[in-house]
């Protein structure tokens, strides 16, 4: 089926034509050191891992454009394996606990067998990769080299012969690959039938990863054979890319860490990716040895995309997708031009105040228009040059005001009691007031204004789209897909246009709604609980950010960072259940952790920003913490009666509003300074 838009998103697993963007740090991960990635769903883990894979490097167009004419210049052969393809829960208690074996020894034995199971799988994939690269003329060894290498491997590990199917004197890589396949499947069979592994079965009692490393060295030797004299003489290596590592058991993760820690030849390194719930990235079976930065690099994709600007990532992805869709190599796309960078007052003018019949609203618009001529607002950018700096970056502020729109939110703030002499003419004074009084309050003012006048909150423009994507490329594409469909023109034209904010507003709301509806299709077991969690948090966030009767709402940035203390739940099973629900919501990119707490009983999070259009809260999500009772939160997730849910939500909103009227220590200090 053809894509309806260049932004149509499918998971890697279900997409036929993948577009890969390499972050600037990619070359750092291509080295000999192993790398552990964590990132929430949609953060591009699978795509990143696939960029190491030999067949993708060989055939993927978008990747080849970025890595140059020789995709194997760094001399590594990447193989990709996804945990769900090879794990089975039968391994949890297999092999059985033997007499005189303590739990530690048992865990180590399980880890050793699990490693063997994994090693056979990796070897199968590695042989397949070598054969593929041979056919692509990247490797050049001859059949004689192949026979010799296989013989050397069989001499080193004669137990493999038991699993060779053919009765013949000389064996090829394909025979070896089938033997590894059989050895891997045979282990699985034993685990499923809970059978003991006989000592004469042919499975060696080696250290974790030892067999893999031994055989890999022979295979790597083979890769260099027959190479033309002028070829890069650097030694090849295998990069084993393991995806979805969050699905494996703790002891299995520990076994993999042990393999990583034991690596010594430089012929293998690992790239391991997991969602935020990676069990433990440090623990190993080696006494007094935990993995550290010397053994592996640890990278959070969340921080990568934050640090190196998600904007850059989104731009690169847009350009690559456009190039592919239009089938042109020299497309330059400027998202800021396509989406426009609108100020709050412009958006209110174009989207919210259009077609309003209410007398109150009309009066308010009139007052705002009158303010346009006041000295203070005459030149809207006056005095604000240079302010768009660190703070705007931090708070994802919309751009400075243009003269084209009346000063709506400023008028609203004045109406709410923020005293201001509109006839000031001193530029320095105007600058100070605009910076201190208005800019921090503008989003809160917009939310309260829209709520009070029953107007729709506007969602449009570059800054809002970027912010609402919440560093998730999947959600960025979701929004852009809807905007593209709403504009209803061809891709080339789209890349040159500036899309009407009204169309953007409708499209963003549609994207938000589809994200919300998508929760039902997520594969997790706590779906209805998560949906209720989103419903309640959405309503509470919206209410506490737009309670216009309460002036404290306008005093600070938007609230809605929920602080949970699990210890407030007395029953351990309740604590466990709430933790699971929250973890699944984090993994599904539904809520975002705000600050990782050192106290494991506490957690701070907010709703994903894409839900802002669905529930009418700030496109920036939230910045300010509010406590939320863990028992209430669990009840909100479990309760079915809508009336009871409503009551609980109102009660919590009331509590938060009361809390909000109290000053935080930092605010209290600021008031004293004043």
């Amino acid at each position: 089926m053809n894509a309806q838009s260049p932004f149509q998103y499918r998971r890697w697993e279900s997409d036929d034509h993948h577009i890969i963007w390499l972050p600037p740090r990619f070359s750092e991960w291509e080295g000999k050191r192993s790398t552990y990635f964590t990132g929430s769903r949609g953060s591009g883990k699978t795509t990143l891992l696939r960029a190491f894979e030999w067949s993708v490097r060989l055939h993927n167009e978008s990747l080849r454009k970025q890595i140059g004419p020789d995709p194997f210049s760094n001399k590594y052969i990447g193989v990709y394996l996804s945990a769900p393809d090879y794990i089975t829960y039968h391994f949890v208690n297999w092999p059985k606990l033997k007499e005189k074996m303590d739990s530690q020894a048992w865990e180590e034995e399980k880890g050793r067998i699990y490693c063997l199971y994994l090693e056979y799988y990796i070897l199968q994939l590695s042989i397949k990769a070598i054969q593929g690269l041979l056919q692509a003329n990247i490797l050049h060894f001859s059949p004689e080299h192949e026979l010799q290498t296989v013989q050397e491997i069989l001499d080193e590990r004669p137990e493999i012969k038991k699993f060779l199917f053919k009765r013949k004197s000389k064996f090829l890589l394909s025979d070896l690959r089938l033997a590894f396949k059989f050895m891997h499947e045979n282990l699985r069979q034993h685990a499923i039938h809970d059978e003991e592994l006989p000592s004469d079965e042919g499975y060696p009692t080696l250290q974790m990863g030892q067999m893999l490393e031994e055989i890999a060295s022979y295979l790597i030797d083979l890769c260099s054979k027959g190479a033309p004299v002028n070829k890069n003489k650097k030694r090849w290596m295998f990069k084993v890319c393991m995806d979805q590592a969050e699905s494996i058991e703790y002891y299995q993760q520990k076994a993999i860490n042990t393999m990583v820690a034991r690596l010594g030849t430089g012929d293998i390194s690992f790239v391991i990716a997991a969602s935020t719930g990676l069990k433990d990235i440090n623990d190993t079976f080696i006494p007094h040895h935990t993995l550290n930065d010397d053994d592996r690099i640890y990278t959070s994709l969340e921080s990568i995309y934050k640090k190196e600007k998600f904007h850059k990532f989104a731009h690169a992805v847009t350009e690559l997708r456009m190039m592919k869709y239009i089938n042109k190599d020299n497309i330059c796309v400027n998202l800021k031009t396509i989406l426009g960078d609108w100020s709050i007052n412009q958006l209110l003018d174009i989207i919210s105040f259009k077609n309003t019949e209410s007398k109150n609203v009309k009066d308010f618009v009139k007052r705002s228009r009158e303010n346009m001529s006041k000295n203070f607002f005459r030149s809207r950018k006056d005095g604000l040059e240079g302010i768009q700096s660190f703070e705007d970056d931090l708070y994802e502020n919309l751009p400075m005001e243009e003269r084209s729109a009346p000063p709506f939110y400023e008028t609203y703030l004045i109406q709410k009691g923020f005293t201001l002499d509109l006839n000031i003419i001193n530029k320095e004074e105007i600058r100070a007031i605009k910076s201190q009084e208005f800019r921090k309050k503008m989003v809160s003012a917009m939310l309260c204004l829209c709520k009070e006048f029953r107007l729709p909150i506007p969602f449009a423009g570059y800054t809002m789209v970027m912010s609402m994507s919440d560093t998730c490329i999947r959600d960025f594409l979701r929004i852009m897909h809807e905007i593209y469909l709403a504009e209803n023109c061809n891709a080339e034209r789209f890349s040159e246009k500036c899309i009407d904010p009204k169309k953007q507003n409708e499209a963003i709301r549609k994207a938000s709604e589809s994200r919300y509806l998508g929760i039902s299709y997520e594969p997790e077991c706590h779906i209805s609980d998560i949906k209720k969690l989103v419903d309640s948090l959405g309503k509470i966030t919206s209410e506490i950010q737009s309670s216009y009767r309460d002036l404290s709402t306008l005093k600070s940035t938007e609230r809605g960072i929920f602080e949970i203390d699990f210890n407030r739940l007395s029953r351990p099973e309740d604590r466990k259940e709430l933790r699971e629900i929250i973890q699944e919501a984090i993994d599904s990119h539904i809520i975002r952790i705000y600050i990782e707490s050192k106290d494991e009983n506490k957690i701070s999070f907010r709703l994903h920003k894409l839900f802002s259009a669905k529930f009418n809260f700030s496109y920036r999500g939230a910045y300010y913490p509010v406590p939320l009772d863990s028992d209430i939160l669990l009840n909100l997730c479990k309760e079915d009666d809508e009336q009871i849910i409503k009551k609980m939500e109102s009660k919590e909103i009331g509590k938060i509003n009361r809390y909000r009227n109290q000053l935080l220590l930092s605010e209290w200090g600021a008031e004293l300074d004043d």
Binding site: Q131, Q135, P143, S174
Partner: protein, 186 residues
């Protein structure tokens, strides 16, 4: 056919004198042996004796070999039988184990006449390389004859050359390209 049978030597001689390959299927010994009988006098002859094991245990029988054979006859493009593939199914420790044997009916040089024109052209290429990956053979074919040859088609031709005893073909069932062909003719 076995020595303990009266007149078995006479029987073997009679069959070999027919000057053609003979597939001889029998039971009786309750085992799953495969034997090939050849004679320097009758170079065109070959007797392939395939014994069928017991399908299931019978009373007081201590033999633990049970199973059956599946025999596939292979014909050349000229519709002549060139070999057979015997798939042996054995029941062992409650599991079914299989093994496959291939037996050529004829040997070089008798078989060379049966090779088709296309096969002879490919043989020439193999002779130059002695041992070659199938994907390289395909490249060489394209270069020499300026025509593309489909990998499946090439695989079939090499299979037939293998049956004719002209090459040794080590198949990679998952990927024909990395199969290895070896020149056999002295």
């Amino acid at each position: 056919m076995y020595t303990e049978l009266i007149n078995s030597g006479y029987m073997r001689e009679k069959l070999l004198s027919l000057g053609r390959p003979i597939l001889y299927l029998h039971g009786h010994i309750h085992d799953n042996d495969i034997e090939i009988i050849q004679s320097p006098i009758y170079e065109d002859s070959k007797i392939i004796c395939i014994s069928a094991p017991l399908l299931m245990p019978i009373k007081n029988n201590k033999n633990n070999k049970f199973g059956f054979n599946k025999i596939k006859l292979v014909f050349s493009q000229s519709k002549r039988p060139i070999g057979c593939e015997i798939e042996q199914f054995k029941f062992e420790d409650g599991r079914i184990k299989t093994s496959t044997s291939r037996i050529r009916f004829l040997n070089f040089p008798e078989t060379i006449e049966q090779a088709t024109g296309d096969e002879i052209r490919i043989l020439e290429l193999i002779r130059e390389e002695k041992m070659v990956f199938l994907f390289r053979l395909r490249e060489a074919y394209r270069e020499r004859f300026k025509v593309e040859i489909d990998m499946d088609n090439l695989h079939k031709l090499i299979e037939e050359l293998d049956w004719l005893g002209l090459v040794n073909y080590d198949r990679d069932e998952g990927n024909y390209g990395t199969s290895v062909v070896k020149w056999l003719i002295p």
